[in-house]
Symmetry: C2
Subunit: 257 residues, 2 copies
Amino acid sequence: MNTALKLSYLGTAYHGWQRQKNGLTVQQLVEEAIEKTCGIKTSVSGCGRTDAGVHAEGYVANFKGDCRIPMDRLPHALNARLPGDIVIHESHIVPEDFDARFSCLAKEYTYRVHNSPTRNPFLTDRAYFYPQRLDEKAMAEAAAHFVGVHDFSAVRSLGTPVRSPVREIYYLDVERRGDMIDIRVCANGFLYNMVRAISGTLVFVGCGKIPPGNIPKILLSKDREQGGPTAPACGLYLTALDYNMENININVKPIRR
Amino acid sequence: MNTALKLSYLGTAYHGWQRQKNGLTVQQLVEEAIEKTCGIKTSVSGCGRTDAGVHAEGYVANFKGDCRIPMDRLPHALNARLPGDIVIHESHIVPEDFDARFSCLAKEYTYRVHNSPTRNPFLTDRAYFYPQRLDEKAMAEAAAHFVGVHDFSAVRSLGTPVRSPVREIYYLDVERRGDMIDIRVCANGFLYNMVRAISGTLVFVGCGKIPPGNIPKILLSKDREQGGPTAPACGLYLTALDYNMENININVKPIRR
């Protein structure tokens, strides 16, 4: 039996999704809740790692094992064992070959910049506070250059080795609503810290440190030093996932393709 | 020299506004920031106590003493000494007789109920999560009975003795926007825990435990046992203040009277 969970979490208190020896993670707490609720000691596979402090509005995970709790009651039963900042919204029996990570066709992240002369205490740990006025039109112009199939070596941190630094970005939108600038990016996969490096680069464009037209040159350089800094984790949200919806009966926000 | 500050804070980490021997308070941190920034060891007078975990979107405080930092730069200088969950927005020189507490003509609090079958991790410590569906029309009907001059003994906790339990509520609105129910109340003053006791009583009305028409009887009883429970602190926000705006050049959200 293979069970998929849809959850959301506020990442502030956690060292990311993936289990670690030192530091509390979302995976550990979800696995402990499943063990206490269903009596199954299992490893939960998540749709992706998230860094410490990164949030998820729509996260999908799956686990194998026979759970006797009815699917429509499982979220409530798990939530009773979880802290308030991790919430299970849905659970579904899925085909045995479904894997939250490998079955995922695309992911959307949203990076939130609070662009205001003054802090907002209610956005502490929930957006990147940037007091200098940013030009969102220049940021959008720069963003367009990232869309498509590229070697994204210039906007990643070195971490776990990957086979290829080539990914396809389907869209990368910059939208201002008052003091908030949302950078929304969807791709078939992301390199380590790629969204935060792109966001830091767009912020440098927004304050005039990098001309929007320099992005193609930066990408071609494959040199991380050419772009802007890696923006802090607190502004990053996993916001949507794309699975083959005919097989997977889990309600994730649709991603435009 | 008398200086007024307009500030906002996320109350989650604090034991309320007022200085305490045991526990960190907003007043203590603001006083320490003033001492470090202006070299003035002073007592800051706040517009009201707030309980542990209560938030303020618009709070006013004042302090006496000569501060050599220009008024337009004081907020920024103080913010550099304050944690991100306390933010000074404005500072103004005010008449010597201005007192943030005693000059205040009316206060508006908003109590936020997250009324949804499922928790939202992003509302942890920021709203009262109430999964059972609430009838906001019944709550609004009950709310109307609180408006006006009443003895509010039935909806307060016993704390510091006060001269009179009579206050005037100018308005008490109940508004649903999706899963959020905002209870907005403005009065010339509030008894200890009064907004939380009114909110808990309205929640009991919303889930059918108290008929809306019972409110006048509950108020007349002056018996705290007749109403609903005191709703938790995390849902409470100080949202607006009313001062005599001709003398006090501080920008607070206007309150309709």
